[in-house]
Symmetry: C2
Subunit: 298 residues, 2 copies
């Protein structure tokens, strides 16, 4: 293969080699023979904001600080201008405490509206829909050549997904370069870890592209829009309401991105069709194996 | 094909022909040509228990009464012996109100522990782990011939999944017969609808098998165990903690069930290996198409 040069170019690549994130599990196969399978870990992480316990998330366990920051940010509990005094992770008791200069007290908020359940961590539904109400994403360019190159690079990047399956990936990209590749048992954790990294590093969202392995549901679209990222792409499918919200906030939504194929469901105006689809190869054997894995570990 | 006779034998089959559950969405393909794709709906449903608003779930919208009952049941807010005075669904304002003879007030509970996020509706984490602590599932028999027949029947059953993708399925089974096939945008909604049906109909769990298209995470295992169902099977993968909890509560866990293949990860003692795997055909072309769909719409 050519084009492999991009694969080492991440700011944060997947933690596929971290032994703490997977574990060999014993079982018996269809013939009754003992087998050992490497599977992803899943452990609780309780997130505190100042003195308040906010949530216990089930996570593979890497980047707990980014997960905490991103979760609080995406729930609207941490503001853009909040001064974070500390993020303390205690591995022994699986907790992260985020401390802010501003006094916070989010118990009331959580008490009222609770959670949505579209295969997702809950979002404070009423509030979130209100925020999306006034939102319009900035203009941006999206070249189809970037899309194809991103999909190709990401699918060939060594990851926990390729190693052990049963996991979702979210990748923050700029033009044709994937920057940060986060994985977790839930799609939303992976996105939250990206959001936490962006918040911690003060990264601008306007020129970014978010790629996810998961389905494009309303919650995923809303989360991306609230993060200020104008483009969301996935190799998976989408729901009707996800498309509707994307159109409402002016988010460019790309679904079923595989090989030369994709569907642009919203924000077609941002698309610069500079690549000839016919010149893009179908998914290579490796990616097809990946597809089989995905099917297996949906 | 032979063995198609089973396919019409459901008490509740998938609502694949219900026009309210899908919608044509317009987009542009990779060549820039307009395309129209049928996708699943996703709409909010707010569940009330007596005078308290409990949750807003994102759902495809079928069986709202079962979803409400099952959600409340699986959250421990509706007890086995609770007398339900009414379940009122109002389509206009997307709400279901469940009324019980017993007075309930679950605001306090929700305020404290909030939600997990392993691609899931939240469970009241601390409480749930406490419940699992003392739980042991009853003995049961599981023949491998049933597993193979169930997998074959379910994969050939017309469903929203086969029609539009981007959806999860959960099937309640008894021996080799699938009884109730529920689908939804989130795995947990589909399971909750099954639980709601069981609660409404007073169905016994001890001799049942739960089949899901989704991954076997800790939350899915806990939910199945709390429902009292001793066997959980999936064509997808699993997490380490899901396996650990299954072993703890004595739940038989079957993963990666495809064609002649599967892995038994827990409760091997229940398994009666009465089928010769070598005699089971590999997945038929149609199921392989289904796998491709799954990959696409993970």
């Amino acid at each position: 293969m050519s084009r492999l040069e991009n694969i080492g170019d991440y700011i944060i690549p997947p933690n596929h080699a971290d032994p703490r994130l997977t574990r060999p599990v014993e079982g018996f196969d269809h013939f009754g023979n003992p087998v050992e399978i490497r599977v992803v870990e899943e452990r609780p992480l309780t997130i505190f904001l100042n003195s308040r316990e906010i949530v216990t998330a089930m996570t593979i366990g890497d980047w707990p600080e980014y997960l905490a920051l991103g979760f609080l940010r995406n729930q609207g509990m941490l503001r853009d201008d909040d001064e974070v005094l500390g993020v303390d992770y205690d591995e022994e008791i699986d907790t992260v405490v985020v401390r802010t200069a501003r006094e916070t007290d989010y118990e009331e908020k959580l008490k009222k509206k609770v959670r949505t359940s579209g295969c997702a961590v809950g979002t404070v539904f009423g509030d979130i829909m209100e925020q999306v109400e006034g939102l319009t994403l900035p203009p941006a360019e999206l070249r189809t050549s970037w899309l194809y190159r991103l999909a190709s690079t990401i699918s060939r990047t060594p990851s926990l997904y390729l190693e052990a399956g049963a996991i979702h990936g979210t990748v923050l990209c700029e033009r044709d370069r994937p920057l940060v590749y986060m994985e977790d048992v839930g799609r939303h954790n992976a996105v939250d870890k990206v959001a936490g990294w962006m918040f911690a590093e003060g990264v601008r969202p306007e020129d970014k592209i978010l790629y996810t392995t998961g389905r494009l549901t309303s919650e995923m679209v809303i989360k991306t829009a609230l993060m200020g990222i104008p483009v969301l792409a996935s190799r998976s499918g989408f729901t009707a309401w996800g498309v509707e919200i994307a159109r409402k906030v002016g988010l460019t939504l790309i679904g079923r991105l595989r090989g030369q194929r994709f569907v642009c469901l919203s924000g077609e105006d941002r698309l610069v069709r500079d690549a000839d689809p016919a010149a893009v190869p179908e998914e290579p054997r490796k990616a097809r194996r990946k597809s089989a894995r995905e099917a297996q570990d949906e």
